[in-house]
Amino acid sequence: MNRILIPEQAGHGTAPAPDAGPVVAVRGASVAFDGPPVFEDVSFKIAPGETRILLGPAGSGKSVLLKLVNGLVSPYTGTVTLFGIDITRLREELLFPLRARTGMVFQEGALFDSLTVRDNVAYQLIQEEVPDEEIDARVREALSFVGLEETFAMYPASLSGGMRRRVAIARALIHEPELLLYDSPTGGLDPVTSNTIIELIGKQRDVYRTPSLLVTHRLQDAFTLCTHRFDPAQDRMVPLPRGTTDPNTTFLMLGEGHLIFDGSLHEFLHSEDSFVREFLA
């Protein structure tokens, strides 16, 4: 039953092998709604086990780019490949099984407000008609992972903003995703709650090696993930030795309608790009 906490059962059996192709490959993608393009000609990849942090000012299209990755938004030019399948022109019905293999945490949690926390977290399992006893056990495991066991029977309306995000993380993790997409999971939260959430993201990255794309505009969160690792023995994030960073955590930056940076923390900090320099200042 320990599907959340035991690494061997945490979806690694179905996750891409380390030498497999990229989990996500976006090539020359441009997105527009009713107006000028949100962004143009964006290309990047997410390799197995890799965590990519997508930075950028508010309104630069970070959330749209995240939704592009699992087909919630379609590009008007370019291609998007998810788990090796080109989803650019894939019909919506064929996208659902692929999306079920990903976990997505929305900006405000996007919990179903008419359902209890238990039913929110177990949403996919309920659709798959998993027996109730197994659902209860797995929901409790997932909630214990995010430290919210006591919210089992509560409704989202009675949770704080931070608790809603943590429930959303539990919902994204319960189905053992092969890719995690986080949309500003710490946006608008106090520093203590933000640290708790970043710790959960670090835990998922370091314990389960699930590839992920994290959207944030908080440099502090990005740097913490790069310079810390999760220590299961202490059950918290600990700093990496001075001068070292997590090699599997890299940066992307959106600005002025284009992807203006793709590289490591070191390259990011030493970038000559004026937009990056201004963002860092």
Partner: protein
């Protein structure tokens, strides 16, 4: 400038009609391919059917009362008050029962569907559902459409019965006529074509109410203000389309029988 605006609005209208047609077709087709969410169908049947019971019973009853009052006054001039039962029964079953029930259910349910789904859209719950691998069309729209069709059918029958009873109450207690005469006139005047007309209409009206309500909800943009706008549009368009469809169905049924 004005021409450009008319051109843009006309294109927008055509695009909306096209989107609605595709939306309504997809929702209908989903019932015949798995997965079908029967639990949601039952839940929506309860919300739409049982939830609308009181307003349908009351509106049906008082419509029958008014019909009997008004018709008796006119029929008296011709010495034909004995046909009040026939007048009330035919008016209720052929026209007023289906149309009034449709409009009452539309006011209650098209608005609730548009506001519920609209709120889910603006709070990203619909996107979350899609991201979890569940088709919102199958999960939210198709059960509402079929629950509305089936429940409106039974609600209309109930409204017709209440209308005839309301007419009877006025005829017997206010106009002091014979109850047996009222009911026998009502019964003898009814033909299969009248009943068919009255039962076919709610099937179309139910489809209109739920598909318009869900369509407006799912196309909501612009935050909470957008939810309000979608709700208004859902009620206005479903009510107008019910009356328009009523005219078309009556025309077809009259030419068939």
């Amino acid at each position: 400038m004005a021409t450009t605006s008319i051109d843009r609005n006309a294109k927008q209208f055509v695009l909306t009609v096209q989107d609605y047609a595709l939306f309504a077709f997809r929702a209908f087709r989903n019932l015949f391919t798995p997965p079908v969410y029967w639990t949601d169908f039952l839940l929506q049947s309860d919300i739409i059917g049982v939830g609308s019971l009181v307003i349908v019973v009351l509106s049906g009853f008082f419509t029958g009362c008014v019909l009997a009052l008004q018709s008796a006054a006119t029929l008296e001039a011709f010495g034909a008050t004995s046909v009040t039962g026939r007048f009330v029964a035919l008016s209720m079953i052929r026209e007023l029962g289906p149309v009034l029930t449709g409009i009452m259910v539309s006011g209650r349910n098209a608005s609730s569907m548009a506001s519920e789904l609209g709120s889910m859209v603006v709070t990203e719950q619909i996107d979350a559902m899609r991201a979890l691998g569940v088709d919102p069309m199958r999960k939210l729209v198709t059960p509402r459409i079929f629950a509305c069709i089936s429940m409106l059918f039974f609600l209309t029958i109930l409204a017709n019965a209440c209308g005839i009873l309301g007419g009877a109450a006025v005829t017997v207690f206010l106009n002091h006529q014979n109850a047996t005469q009222y009911f026998s006139m009502a019964w003898e005047s009814l033909r299969l074509r009248d009943i068919l007309q009255g039962l076919v209409k709610p099937l179309f009206f139910g489809y209109i109410i739920a598909s318009i309500g869900c369509f407006n909800g799912m196309k909501t943009t612009g935050g909470t203000e957008g939810v309000g706008r979608s709700t208004i549009q859902a009620v206005v368009w479903s009510s107008v389309l019910i009356i328009f469809a009523d005219y078309l169905i009556s025309q077809v049924m009259l030419s068939l029988f």
